[in-house]
């Protein structure tokens, strides 16, 4: 039993990181129909730039906040320079386009930081052993911060004027304009939000998972799978999808074969696409004709 709990704890903390990335996918897709494959790179940029700041002597919490800022700026620039100029944006075009951006960002990180992976210092706290289950302090930080961020994002979309306007943008552009937000501004805000979410994932995961130039690839893809499990338009679905994916991976590695860990997400993806294309946890998405 304690093994099972140990796997679940590890799975939840990994899943929380997926959930943060997945929320980023949802933030952008639900507003502009763009699938942003550079979402994982946001996390990598955050981790590596936070490392640069701490190397320069900036205290850890400040370095983390600065990293969030850096990524938000990168995300907005990406929207302005690469996404906005495209006239006929379809989901398919967005996939290829953001794949290009993500490849370029990855290579840029490689040129700046080199190939070596490094970890940010963990947040303070001591590791615990509860009933034979070992929990690292950083894991508690990850779970706690993810919970706070998820609630904040949900409140943002459900309760605030700006959040509601963003959602309206996706469903009814004209109505959104009446509320006083242009689709263009909405897309910019969406990218900033997604950038922040990815960056939080990046700085939180770095002490445990290390950060290197290409760590965004797998993280981004798995975050995307988590978002798809949740139906791609639901924040709650994305969070749930991330956590479920993390736990399933951990259990597979523990009880089946650790070698198949990375295949879990994608087998799940294909099964879900075939069986329930609208997502497992999301509302059933109507096909738009």
């Amino acid at each position: 039993m304690s093994d099972f709990l140990q796997f679940v704890v590890a799975g939840l903390s990994a899943g929380a990181v997926y959930a943060l990335v997945a929320m980023g996918f949802v933030a952008i897709f639900s507003v502009s129909g763009v699938i942003n494959l550079a979402q994982g790179e946001f996390a990598a940029i955050a981790g590596l730039s936070a490392l640069s700041f701490t190397d320069a002597g900036v205290p850890l919490p400040v370095a983390m906040l600065l990293a969030l800022l850096v990524v938000a700026v990168v995300a907005v620039l990406m929207q302005r320079l690469a996404i906005a100029p495209v006239r006929r944006m379809t989901t398919l075009v967005s996939i290829i386009l953001t794949l290009g951006v993500s490849t370029a960002l990855k290579a840029l990180l490689l040129l700046i930081y080199g190939p070596q992976g490094r970890g940010l210092a963990p947040l303070p706290g001591s590791d615990l052993v509860i009933g034979g289950v070992s929990v690292r302090a950083q894991e508690l930080w990850i779970l706690g911060i993810t919970a706070v961020v998820a609630v904040a994002v949900a409140v943002f979309y459900d309760r605030t004027v700006l959040g509601k306007a963003l959602r309206a943008c996706a469903e009814q552009p004209v109505a959104a304009r009446l509320v006083g937000i242009s689709p263009k501004a909405a897309a910019t805000v969406a990218f900033a939000v997604a950038g922040l979410l990815g960056a939080v994932a990046g700085v939180l995961a770095s002490p445990i998972q290390l950060t290197q130039w290409d760590s965004g690839l797998l993280l981004g893809l798995k975050g995307f799978v988590a978002a798809t499990l949740g139906g791609l338009v639901s924040i709650r679905g994305a969070v749930l999808g991330g956590l479920v994916l993390g736990v399933l991976e951990s259990l597979t590695a523990g009880y089946v074969d650790s070698g198949y860990r990375d295949a879990v997400a994608f087998v799940l993806l294909i099964v879900v696409l075939v069986a329930r294309p609208g997502g497992v946890f999301g509302r059933h998405a109507e096909a738009r004709v």
């Binding site: 690469a82 290009g100 490849t103 490689l110 040129l111 130039w213 294909i270 696409l273």
Partner: protein, 619 residues
């Protein structure tokens, strides 16, 4: 092969591949070998993107299936290389079939996501499976031998590859220009219109997807022999991205673009590895990615059509399309038209609708409509705006699935099935909101209408010559119906350039090309001039005389009452009247329905006026 430029391209490529190895340094030839191998896979991906409008983010998976199968068969069994290659390619195609079967039924980006997953799963499986050689993979694959000759050096291997890549190109070009390519091109412009002309989108897309996997498999086979090693890297995401880059760089869906893209990316790769470390001292790792990423991004932003688009833009200026003047007068005859042998006798019921109902959320758009239409009659469906006429049409033609009720055309159930089933039952339709195939000429549009009247499939399309005779028949038949609607002079103009009214006539011609027994026209008169309306009405009468059953939705009540044999009136989704034009005129419920709607609706006012005037005149 149809165009001269294709022939020129093939000759140039042939000369380049055969002669360049003699004059270029060996490493350039070596790179050309890889470029050629990858180009074969890229052509397949390009077909998938261009024809099926789908993208595979894991195309390396099929490449790897081909390479692994070939590697295992030639190193561990006595299977001869050529047979092994056939098996390898077949397995790659089988893998695609299994993935495509469930996923291509869905709209949107699902195939892209699933193939992405497939590539990663295959990489993991290859690493974890001792039979597949785990991480070391399969090694010791010999260079191929044919006729006692071993193709060892880059130059020789390039010569061995030359006929293969030429065949791959010719096959792909033939396919793009064939009946199948035309149908899929139409699907990309308007899926629903193509389907109502009988195009089975799912089936054709699946075929193209499987074919594109076959191309990747062929590339995999050649890769395995040339490299002598196959390992899990051959399925990985980076290679899939490289294939994608090749297809995108050259131009989505253009065969030559993929070839140019293949060479472009391979040499870009080589060059960047040399240049980037010179610019950024101490740069190590996959530095060439920066160029790939930037090129991919820039192409998608500024040149979504790829190099092909740039080339077209440069050459287009030389050949402006000449605009035509007035349309030529349509066939002035009065006799019956488009009668065909085997058509049901006039009076035989063709369309039988029972209890047709559609709910949208809590709203009932159509409520329990019954309607029969027989061969040789014109039935009009009228009613105020929002009465559910178009929804009815959509359900009858299989575009929208009814919530309840049945639709039968010539004994075939249509409800809950696809529009191509409707078309297969010799029925088709036009659209209120025009669904023009914007990337084709008028002739090209109408030729899609011949889809069901021709048979050449994927394989014969690729062979080209096998399809030539049928192509000529298709062109002839298409021109015939174009003449009927009076668009003769516009036949070779891009359909998108036509004025609104003539696009409508073109849709009618396109529908007629299907040689339907039952024709549904959704507001065919809208946007036509007075003369054009009279011509169209005359055409419809002649078609009726030929035995066709016609249903039309029309706002022009005057025209309808003059033309139709029977009129059905819908209001609020309910059929409130059905009868001869005379009976409808006399039906107070009909007038009330039109009067009941918003007074500001000018169309309703016109309709009431028309009803009243006609009634008055007749009396």
């Amino acid at each position: 092969m149809k165009s001269r430029s294709d022939a020129v391209g093939v000759v140039l490529l042939l000369v380049a591949l055969l002669l360049l190895p003699l004059v270029l340094p060996v490493w350039v030839t070596g790179t050309a070998v890889y470029a050629t191998i990858y180009a074969i896979a890229a052509i397949g991906l390009s077909l998938l993107m261009g024809l099926a409008g789908q993208v595979s983010l894991g195309h390396a998976a099929f490449f790897a299936v081909g390479a692994y199968t070939q590697g295992i068969l030639v190193t561990r069994t006595a299977v001869p290389g050529l047979l092994a290659a056939l098996i390898a390619v077949a397995l790659a195609m089988l893998a695609a079939l299994l993935v495509g079967l469930p996923l291509l039924r869905l709209r949107g980006h699902y195939l892209a996501l699933a193939t992405l997953g497939l590539g990663i799963i295959l990489t993991v499986v290859a690493i974890e499976t001792p039979f597949l050689g785990a991480t070391s993979g399969i090694f010791g694959i010999d260079k191929p031998e044919f006729g006692g000759r071993r193709y060892d050096s880059p130059a020789e291997y390039l010569w061995l590859l030359t006929p293969v890549v030429i065949l791959a190109i010719v096959g792909a070009r033939n396919l793009v220009q064939s009946r199948v390519g035309r149908a899929l091109g139409a699907v990309n412009d308007s899926e629903v219109a193509a389907e109502t002309l009988g195009v089975d989108t799912f089936r054709l897309r699946l075929q193209v997807f499987v074919l594109s996997a076959g191309y990747a498999g062929v590339a995999g086979v050649f890769f395995a022999h040339w490299l002598a090693v196959v390992n899990p890297n051959s399925a990985n995401f980076a290679l899939s991205v490289e294939f994608l880059l090749m297809a995108v760089l050259g131009g989505l869906g253009t065969v030559w673009g993929a070839v140019v893209g293949g060479f472009g990316v391979e040499f870009l790769d080589e060059g960047l590895r040399e240049v980037v470390p010179l610019v950024v001292p101490g740069a190590t790792g996959e530095v060439q990615l920066i160029g790939f990423g930037i090129v991919l991004t820039l192409v998608m932003i500024f040149l979504p059509g790829g190099l092909h688009q740039a080339f077209r833009a440069l050459t287009a200026r030389r050949a402006p399309t000449e605009a035509t003047e007035e349309p030529a007068a349509p066939d002035p005859g009065e006799g019956p038209l488009l009668a065909r042998e085997g058509r049901p006798e006039p009076g035989t019921v063709l369309l039988s609708v029972r209890g047709l109902t559609k709910h949208y959320g809590g709203v009932t758009a159509v409520d329990g409509v019954d309607l029969d239409v027989a061969a040789g009659e014109i039935v009009a469906l009228i009613g105020p705006n929002g009465a559910g006429k178009t929804t009815c049409f959509n359900m009858v033609s299989g575009v929208v699935e009814p919530s309840a009720g049945t639709v039968e055309v010539a004994g075939t159930r249509i409800d809950g099935r696809k529009p191509h089933v409707f078309a297969a039952a010799r029925a088709t339709r036009t659209f209120q909101n025009l669904q023009v195939f914007g990337s084709a000429t008028v002739l090209g549009n109408v030729m899609v209408g011949r889809h069901l009247r021709s048979r050449v499939g994927l394989l014969r399309s690729m062979l080209g010559f096998a399809a030539r005779r049928e192509e000529r028949e298709i062109v002839a038949a298409a021109r015939e119906v174009i003449d009927l609607v009076g668009l003769t002079a516009d036949a070779d103009r891009p359909a998108a350039d036509l004025p609104f009214g003539r696009q409508r006539l073109m849709e009618v011609a396109r529908a007629l090309a299907v040689e339907p027994d039952l024709l549904l026209l959704d507001e065919p008169m809208a946007g036509l001039s007075g003369a054009e309306r009279r011509d169209l009405a005359r055409l419809l009468r002649r078609l009726r005389a030929g035995g066709m059953g016609i249903v039309l939705v029309e706002h022009d009540v005057e025209a309808v009452l003059a033309l139709a044999d029977r009129v059905a009136v819908l209001d609020d989704g309910v059929r409130i009247a059905l009868g001869t034009p005379q009976e409808i005129r006399d039906d107070p419920a009909v007038v009330a329905a039109y009067l009941g709607v918003d007074d500001d609706d000018p169309e309703a006012e016109q309709a009431v006026q028309a009803l009243a005037e006609v009634t008055h005149d007749e009396r």
